[in-house]
């Protein structure tokens, strides 16, 4: 087996939420509370979860944009946390990030030319006299016209800005790109374009993605492997197909049952979690989900369930998942009704285009 590109072991990040008058922390948020991940080159790992579950923090920890409180982070076999300032800058040639909001992630006072030439100059990727050409190539790569280079970000639409942000990430020729909700700030119509661009780039440039999202339909479209997070911990991790076909953790099941199905006559057993997400300042003991879980027993309140992986690589952090009733067959329920399917097929034949990618339903 090839060594993984990215290995995360017991990664922890606490934020101080309150301090006493003397500056001592009196309350901490365990934004990331001990997670383990491995990622093979060329794959896409999706991190999903509700807002506030720590998925974005994981993304920033991978780039060391914020420092972890504890844990190990290895990239290509090297210890990222041991890097000094200079090594860290070199590391950022290999790992890049695309942020959620393209309206916030581009410096409003720099032209596209300056934005894209900056990484080229910082890492001395191409000689100064060839930088303009490379900027044009990068713009073409993400589907923008090179004549846009002298413009400022405010002159572009959200989708175009996100393309610029992707071009900037690509400028350093990275191996791994952390996509932090790259489409959730975009219109639905633009979303699929950006997703297709990302998958296309992955194939052409052999990229590896960590794809952070709360949108399961997007994740299903793009990910090879999915990790579900709840309150700073990974509760379930599996290959995407396996996870969507056979969710084990009660939280994952509840997430899936919350996905709307575009069939008015759909009868599904919905698993609604009771109550709200507990305050991350004082998360519940044992399994974080136990106050909201229909299957919780006493053990769940006391003992933190470990993320145990089976032979196929499907891992769930639940004491009780083997005893739980089989999940309602999501895969079967996801197919549109037969008549709708026929209609879609006809439409696809007529126009010669396959069903729109990226907006497929679960």
């Amino acid at each position: 087996m090839i060594a993984p590109l990215l290995e995360i072991e017991g990664l922890v990040r606490h934020f101080t939420a309150r301090r006493s008058v003397f500056g001592r922390p009196t309350a901490t948020v365990k934004a990331v509370d001990g997670i383990d991940l491995t990622l093979q080159a060329g794959q896409t790992l999706a991190l999903v979860g509700e807002s506030g579950c720590g998925k974005s923090t994981v993304g920033r920890l991978i780039l060391r944009l914020i420092e972890p409180t504890a844990g190990k982070l290895r990239f290509d076999g090297r210890d990222v946390l041991g890097f000094d300032e200079k090594q860290l800058r070199a590391f950022r040639r290999e790992v890049q990030i695309v942020f959620q909001d393209p309206y916030a992630s581009l410096n409003p006072r720099m032209t596209v030319q300056q934005l894209l030439a900056e990484p080229l100059a910082l890492h001395d990727i191409v000689p100064a006299e060839q930088r303009n050409d490379r900027v044009a190539e990068l713009l073409a790569l993400v589907g923008l016209e090179p004549r846009f280079a002298p413009r400022y970000p405010h002159e572009f639409s959200g989708g175009q800005r996100q393309r610029i942000a992707i071009a900037r990430a690509l400028a350093v020729e990275p191996k791994l790109i952390v996509c932090d909700e790259p489409v959730s700030a975009l219109d639905v119509s633009v979303r699929s374009q950006i997703l297709n661009l990302l998958t296309d780039l992955q194939q052409r440039l052999a990229l590896t993605y960590v794809f952070i999202s709360h949108d399961l339909s997007v994740v299903k479209h793009i990910a090879n492997r999915v990790a579900v997070m709840y309150l700073g911990r990974i509760v379930e991790m599996a290959e995407a197909d396996e996870l969507f076909a056979n969710p084990r953790h009660p939280y994952t099941r509840a997430l899936f049952s919350a996905i709307p199905v575009p069939r008015p006559d759909a009868r599904r057993q919905r698993q609604i979690l009771e109550g709200d997400v507990p305050s991350p300042l004082s998360p519940p003991s044992g399994c974080h989900l136990h106050p909201r879980c229909a299957y919780a027993v006493e053990r769940c309140m006391v003992e933190r369930p470990l993320l145990v992986s089976d032979a196929a690589g499907h891992a769930a952090a639940c004491h009780r998942w083997p005893e739980l009733p089989a999940a309602p067959a999501l895969a079967a329920g996801t197919a549109p009704s037969p008549s709708l399917e026929r209609l879609m097929e006809k439409f696809a034949r007529k126009t010669g285009v396959p069903a729109p990618a990226g907006v497929d339903t679960l």
Binding site: R92, Q96, F99, P108, R151
Partner: protein
């Protein structure tokens, strides 16, 4: 309705790029108050620079035949207690006032902005140190500092400017630091770090240009305050020294003759009023023009 030609112009110049600076200038030019202020400032600047060419009299030479003459065809603004033409002295006084305003704010910017940038970007101990230093400076009353400086270095316009500059500095340290902290959490700063920028480059290339509007507005308003400060110091005898004219020192000599020769006080007072008003108008206009939420 008014949109149609505008949109047409936009379409025409679709490939022309409008930089943020040019956009701000265009917006500024739409404001009557700002244009008025700018015109007055330019006028006073021209007067200060070309004062020798514009005036028939010498600002210093005294004349015993023309003491405290009311405004007339010969002396439009009248003369002062030593027989000097007030119009000429107001013109020459513009040099002292504008110089004091610009140079003292320049001193404050030169010290305050780097300190504020450092405090905001480095944080931690350095931030606390600079914070306490500015607190200490703010605790020191302006007039006491100015008189202390005058006492050790002798009263002069230069020392007055230093005193004004130093006392204005904490405002810029605080403003810069606050703005840096606000911009620091922007995603484009995180993106700049992610792309591999060293810290100093993030501060100078990514943060500074984005906080310049706020600094520019504050600088303009501070020039107005500095002109008043210079006038106050000169009025107290700590600024421009006689016989060289400055609006403040002219007011000082006028106060003894307020009843008999009110024109001695009116003209320099009016000049101060107009200049300060103009800088404030331009400052307000800039603040609106540089506001990204405005069109």
């Amino acid at each position: 309705m008014t949109d149609a030609p505008f949109t047409a112009a936009l379409l025409k110049s679709a490939d022309a790029v409008e930089s943020p600076l040019r956009r701000a200038l265009r917006r500024l030019m739409r404001r009557k108050g700002a244009i008025f202020g700018l015109a007055i400032i330019v006028l006073f600047l021209a007067i200060a620079i070309f004062a020798p060419l514009l005036t028939p009299y010498d600002p210093i030479v005294q004349s015993w035949t023309a003491v405290r003459k009311p405004p007339s065809a010969l002396h439009w603004f009248g003369t002062d207690d030593l027989g000097r033409d007030i119009l000429v002295r107001v013109f020459y006084g513009a040099r002292a006032s504008l110089m004091a305003g610009v140079i003292s704010v320049g001193i404050a910017l030169a010290i305050g902005v780097p300190l504020g940038l450092a405090a905001g970007t480095l944080g931690g101990f350095f931030d606390a140190l600079i914070g306490r230093l500015t607190d200490a400076m703010l605790a020191c009353p302006f007039l006491i500092l100015a008189s202390a400086l005058a006492a050790c270095r002798g009263p002069s316009l230069g020392n007055a400017m230093i005193a004004i500059g130093v006392t204005t500095t904490p405002i810029f340290v605080r403003l810069t630091r606050g703005q840096v902290l606000a911009v620091n959490v922007e995603e484009y700063v995180a993106a700049a770090r992610a792309i591999g920028n060293p810290r100093w480059r993030i501060a100078l290339v990514h943060i500074l240009p984005n906080i310049l509007p706020a600094l520019l507005v504050q600088a303009t308003l501070s020039i107005a305050a500095a002109i008043i400060a210079e006038a106050s110091l000169s009025f107290l005898g700590l600024g421009q020294q006689p016989p060289d004219p400055s609006w403040g020192s002219m007011l000082n000599s006028a106060q003894r003759f307020l009843i008999n020769a009110p024109w001695m006080a009116v003209w320099p007072g009016l000049a101060i009023f107009l200049t300060v008003l103009s800088f404030n108008l331009v400052g307000d206009g800039l603040r609106d023009a540089l506001n990204p939420r405005e069109n």
